[in-house]
Amino acid sequence: MSGLLVSAAESAGRPRPGLLRRLPRSGVAMVGLALVLFWVVLALLAPVLPLADPNAQDYLAMAHPGSSAKHWLGVDPLGRDMLSRLIWGGRTVLAVAPTAVLAAYAAGIAMGLLAGYYRGWVDVAISRISDVILSFPVVVLYVILIANIGPSALNIVVAVVLASAPGIARIVRGLTLSLIHQEFVAAAYLRRETDLFVMLIEVLPNCRAPLITDFCLRLGYTTITIGTLGFLGLGLPPPAPDWGGMVKQATSMITVFPHMALYPAIAIVTLILGFNLLADGLTELSQAD
């Protein structure tokens, strides 16, 4: 029976690298990644770049707020340097959005795993609470929440967690429900693994691919949300640079100085587009097998 001995070279089929490592194969994803990295690098370098103070007002420049040698992208209605505010504003978004989404993920994954794993009343309770929250129009939920608990970075994170966790829980719950019927989970029970072990070690790692995609999408949504809150006057309290707030501040002058509103709008769009393209590329990659 020595013919049964299979050499390792013969045995290993073509190894398929993980989803993130296959990223370079998708052109769409790479464009998305480039857009996101563009802002990430600028945001990281903000403190060392030779930028004007984002809150310093240049009263002289207000007479001619357009592009100049001193202010490459001009100044805003209060005479503050647009370029500096854009980069520092990106820093805010790129700090708040991932923090909020990660926190939402922690909550959503816990809810989804518990609901999908235990089913029964745990599932009913978690699903009902989720249903109630999801029945709110998202922006309405944000508006009444932030208007009542006050605008701050922390409160934005709280609001994002509250609004996003149920959706994440729903995805994780669905995946858990199908995964716990897999035979490897039965095999885990047959070596006396605990519930927690099965949830975290057997089930959760296999939710990776859909969650990575969803994570990128949600970063996009959250960026939109943060911008929207800023635009509605519920974003970070002034004078902190905030893209949505910058658009809002400039809308009244849009007929005279359109650049003041256009630049931050373009900044927001490029970052969101980056996240969305990244998500789309990841979806395409995970479906390609």
Binding site: V132, S135, I268
Partner: protein, 336 residues
């Protein structure tokens, strides 16, 4: 089916009740606020304290919620409209009636006088947007999904992603910059006033476009994914290999199945549209429900926030119900 609809309606009412309680908790959690916000920033502390006492604001939250439901259902009179308070809040309808949402401190009028006109304006805006979103997203999505991976698919999919990546306020700014500032062919504000120099129709073009484009991109992507998925299903192959012409394969076999999933999504867009109108109405100074809700929230007009949120919740849950029922009608497998 009837039993299903009854059960879902009951669930919807429970959801509304729980959600309205949550809204109540968020808006009236600190009772001192309520009295202060009612009287305004310039009221003296004694006045605030007096009102606080008269409104029984130190009662537990649940008791106050039950009282609020009592006012809404017409069992109790609105305490704010008590002439003894001397606030001058008067509702011409009666002291107590079913559907009494209370008195708006921002607009100094009963909520029912403020709410419904604006809701009508918003329904017009959202309805027009919806009328654009559905055909636009279906055409884009079906064309792209019909031949997944083709040049047309790639072009349309990229277009759809770009559309969903431009939030309403940014799109508003971009469109205003082009059509108002550069070309001057459309108005930058939409007060729905026929004397504002532009026709009502012209005033509606930009707000509707802003609302529609953002959502249509999203829906188109869903339709595209569903269509591409169905086109790859074995029964479509069966249809082709039994000799049906391509048009018949697409129309009779693919479309019917491909539209089941997006149907739900399309109806849920109404939920998104409610959010979208808040932003769009602010951009274009449109006299609608969304801007009213925002103003009420920023001002702290408790009665109006609660009423508006309840209405928004009702619309959202009712469309959810509608989509669930519709899904069962469309999908014979769910009908059992």
């Amino acid at each position: 089916m009837t039993r299903y609809i009854l059960r879902r309606t009951l669930e919807m009412l429970v959801t509304l009740l729980v959600a309205s309680f949550l809204v109540f908790v968020v808006t009236e959690f600190s009772p001192g606020n309520v009295a202060r916000k009612t009287l305004g920033a310039f009221a003296l502390q004694e006045q605030v304290d007096l009102l606080y006492k008269k409104l029984h604001l130190n009662d537990p939250l649940l008791v106050r919620y039950v009282r609020w439901v009592g006012v809404l259902t017409g069992i109790e009179a609105d305490p704010l409209q008590d002439p003894a308070l001397g606030l001058g809040f008067k509702d011409p309808r009666r002291a107590r009636y079913f559907g009494n949402f209370g008195y708006s401190t921002l607009y100094k009028a009963p909520v029912n006088d403020v709410l419904w006109d604006r809701l009508g304006n918003t329904a017009l805006l959202a309805g027009l947007a919806f009328a654009v979103i559905v055909p636009l997203s279906l055409v884009l999505g079906v064309l792209a999904g019909m031949r997944a991976g083709s040049v047309l698919d790639r072009a349309l999919s990229t277009l759809a992603i770009v559309m969903t990546s431009i939030p309403e306020y940014a799109l508003g700014v971009l469109l205003v910059a082009v059509f108002v500032v550069a070309l001057g062919v459309l108005p930058g504000t939409s007060p729905l006033d026929p004397n504002a120099g532009w026709s009502i129709a012209a005033q509606l073009v930009l707000p509707v476009s802003v609302l529609a484009l953002y959502d249509a991109g999203y829906v188109a992507r869903i339709v595209r994914a569903s269509m591409a998925e169905v086109m790859a299903r074995p029964f479509v192959r069966t249809a082709v290999l039994k000799g049906l012409p391509r048009r018949q394969v697409i129309v009779n076999h693919a479309l019917r199945n491909a539209l089941i999933a997006p149907f739900t999504v399309i109806l849920l867009q109404i939920n998104w549209l409610i959010g979208g109108v808040v932003v769009t109405e602010l951009v274009f100074a449109y006299p609608g429900f969304g801007r009213m809700l925002l103003d009420a929230s920023l001002f702290g007009d408790v009665a109006l926030i609660e009423a508006a949120t309840l209405v928004a919740l009702f619309v959202a849950t009712a469309t959810q119900l509608l989509s669930d029922v519709g899904y069962r009608v469309l999908d014979p497998q769910a009908r059992r």
